[in-house]
Amino acid sequence: MLKKFEDLNASHIDVLKEIGNIGSGNASTALSSMVGKDVVISMPEVKFLRFQEAIEKNGSPEETVAAVLVRLKNDICGMILFIVEHEFAAEVLKVFFGENDVDLLRLSDDDISALTEIGSIMSHSYTNAIATLAGLNIGVDAPSFTVDMFGAIMSVPIIEFGEIGEKLLCIDKVIELNGVKMKSNMLLIPTVDSLSNLFGKLGLGE
């Protein structure tokens, strides 16, 4: 039984990468069909970061970003946090509504609905892919949206994992939309217990 993230071995990490690959491949196909543009994703990375690093390596603490948070339940608990930087939001809203001067701090209700919906659809495509692959039942809660400092947003997963340790496991990748490389991180943040579950189902347990 996996007790700590520190106990993950190389084949566990490979499986997590593959999951990130399949999940985010599906999610980016969903994004591509929504915006009608090409979407390219980077190879997913499995990062096992101290809390402070989780902020510093993924962005800058005070940068204003939008975020869609979706909680996962049943066989995999944890969350998907979709971080949308300004450039990415601007591109999406340009495609959807023809907007040119997108200010994350002054989004209209339609802008917020569109970005939330994208986060939600991508999260569902991500989890559906993993659920099908591993024969798991993954429940997805209603999405929640906010615009704020990147560091303050990251405090949400960090605090939940703070009860059990000092590190956060993130499976992430960078999305390119419309030929423009934009950082838009989709972080899958599972709990330790869920990982045990997942590896068990895939025959990698114990």
Partner: protein
């Protein structure tokens, strides 16, 4: 020089150094200050109670009930008078407001735990900016004891 306080961290300083902690979400920043000696401390706690932790060796800087007394002890060791120390606190937001998220209400629980820890130590709270749904960066100026709170959507205010 700016002294940077990370998550689960605290630092103590004197003028002219300014102590900063960036982007508090549901975490709480506790600024302690002794006006006479100008000794100041800033703690960035993440969770209310070390008693709930499943860890064998806890990081005392992470919890309200352990970080605040530890930082106070350090300030007193540097010459601060405990009876003259006052507190200003900020943070403890609920970042995602839709139902199902932030269901543990951790921001509010952190604020309650910080107030309890300060009360136990008989430190009066003379300024606070807590709760709501946005992140905050804090600057603590040991020259005056002023605390500047900065946010993305609400601008700046002084405590």
């Amino acid at each position: 020089m700016n002294l940077n306080v990370g998550i689960s961290d605290w630092k103590v300083s004197k003028p002219p150094d300014v102590i900063v902690t960036y982007a508090l979400g549901s975490c709480v920043g506790i600024c302690l200050y002794d006006k006479r000696t100008k000794i100041a401390g800033l703690s960035h706690i993440m969770l209310p109670d070390s008693g709930n932790s499943g860890e064998a060796n806890i990081n005392r800087m992470k919890f309200a009930d352990t970080a605040i007394p530890d930082m106070l002890k350090k300030m007193v060791a540097l010459g601060a008078m405990q009876s003259g120390i006052t507190a200003k606190i900020a943070g403890g937001a609920t970042m995602f407001s839709a139902s199902g998220c932030d269901r543990f209400n951790i921001g509010e629980r952190n604020v309650v735990a910080v107030k309890a820890a300060l009360q136990t130590l008989r430190i009066p709270i003379i300024g606070q900016d807590t709760g709501a749904n946005y992140g905050r960066t804090l600057f603590l100026y040991p020259e005056t004891g002023k605390v500047k709170v900065k946010s993305a959507s609400k601008g700046e205010r002084d405590l």
